[in-house]
Subunit: 271 residues, 2 copies
């Protein structure tokens, strides 16, 4: 459907790499939805060009320059910069329904069925399971909701300093109101769960549809040897499943790197 | 109501200490329900006597000696010994509804409202949040259900080797069927959550009603200095909140130790 879209966000070139892999993974699994990337002003021209090849729409969100409510909100809470940029997805009112996905997620199976759900549908966060994880969520673009969200953030801030805290206190009945809004964990499987309850991962992990590389070490923080097909870096330390990490890197090196190389030409870029 | 009960389980003297503290914490918070302790044959006479002072009913469950379905089940799956003992709670058919609580839980507020819920209600497990944690759950005693559970365990085993895996595969629609069966996390707050998502604990932890000391290090694994009111042991290493640990030990040393001392008389016991 042309009025439904997957939306992601990248405010810099590293997260842009994530967005490229995510977009490719959605295309590889034959999504019928539009793909939208929100980008910040610091994303390079080259990255923008590659994003344009993968995404239907690449939209610059410059909160500081916007001169609207978001700008005002940002003046009051400069700490919530990326959060305000993420909330911008609610202004995509040329779509009737969207699924937001963090740039550090990877789709491993078609997930178009998420569009059967309503706002705000999301999967539980493994840390505090009465909170939803804001890495994957279904929402209805609406300028009215956008205004209320900005107001809520300016007044109450965010209990965790990021978008997840703000969204959870805004959509505060998520845990108790409607089971349909509770997405199965396999739609936002964070690798952290693998280590805290390995037997459950062994039992249910094979059904994963979206892998979320949450935490400090992102896939692009590692290095990859494409000849040997191995990821290098302190994998032990990070709570990342080596198999999914390899899947991310395989996609990145086979589909994304060639596009980036073309854009950067003679100039070096850090793959 | 006389036909509703909180039920716990202790197969040895250490878990019996936990059961004593749990029972006292339920009484201190003025429960109107009956208290039942299931015990295994290895619990000492002295511990049984103290449990009798706190619990309305102390019931010996000797799976190996039972000569019934449970015995047969146990012969096929000797690895699931404690699990089969826990499942025995379904045979308490002189109660219409019960809440099972692990012996390593502590009640910090009256929770009688849990009896408004139906079988099988439980809180999400923070490790894999589409599984419920089997440390606190609402159930309806029934010999029919008991038989089905035993059969399920014998046929399918348990994906985590314990009761949680077995119960989750038996009550497999918990995550998707009915939001009322999803207890809020504050009814089974494991200290692990404090470390994985501290801001959420700071935001919501003050509402905790049940604390669950899950994992390898139990409250009784530490030592306590009652004069200085400090708990000793490697608290850093364990994922236990020092405040709740202190609450457990305060209750244990003030209410339980005097009862144990009376029972053990001249004989030494390890507090
Ligand atoms: O500097 C940043 C930080 C975050 N993000 C976006 O915000 C999301 C949430 O941040 P992150 O994934 O790092 O948080 P985590 O999932 O690890 O909690 C990212 O996936 C990106 O889409 C971004 O574009 N730039
Ligand atoms: O040797 C044992 C192990 C377990 N239990 C009972 O089974 C429950 C579940 O085990 P535990 O709490 O150790 O598991 P965890 O919550 O750490 O996963 C305990 O609270 C006790 O009620 C017991 O009586 N004896
Ligand atoms: Mn993320
Ligand atoms: Mn326990």
């Amino acid at each position: 459907m042309a009025d439904q879209a997957f939306v992601t966000l990248a405010t810099n070139d590293n997260y842009a790499k994530g967005a490229m892999v995510l977009g490719r993974s959605l295309r590889n699994h034959k999504t019928s939805k539009k793909l939208v990337a929100l980008i910040g002003p610091h994303v390079s021209e080259q990255s923008r060009a590659v994003l344009h090849m993968i995404y239907d729409e690449v939209r610059l969100v410059d909160v500081l320059d916007s001169g609207d409510m978001a700008h005002l909100a940002m003046m009051k809470r400069p700490d919530l910069g990326v959060t305000f940029t993420k909330l911008h997805c609610w202004t995509l009112t040329h779509y009737s329904k969207c699924v937001f996905m963090d740039a550090d997620t990877l789709v491993v199976s078609n997930i178009d069925e998420l569009f059967d759900r309503e706002e705000l549908s999301a999967a539980p966060d493994p840390g505090w399971p009465d909170c939803f994880n804001s890495g994957v969520f279904v929402f209805h673009p609406s300028n009215e909701t956008y205004g209320k969200l900005l107001q809520h953030c300016t007044e109450h801030g965010s209990f965790d300093g990021g978008d997840q805290g703000a969204l959870n206190s805004f959509f505060s009945d998520w845990a108790t109101a409607d089971i349909r809004k509770r997405l199965p964990f396999i739609y936002n499987m964070s690798s952290i769960a693998i280590y805290t309850y390995l037997p459950a991962f062994k039992q249910y992990g094979a059904n994963a549809k979206v892998v979320h590389f949450l935490g400090n070490t992102k896939p692009w923080s590692y290095t990859y040897d494409p000849k040997q097909r191995v990821v290098r870096g302190d994998i032990q330390e990070a709570s990342t499943h080596p198999g999914f990490l390899l899947e991310w890197w395989t996609l990145y090196s086979s589909c994304v790197v060639p596009m980036l190389q073309k854009e950067y030409g003679e100039q070096p870029f850090h793959s």
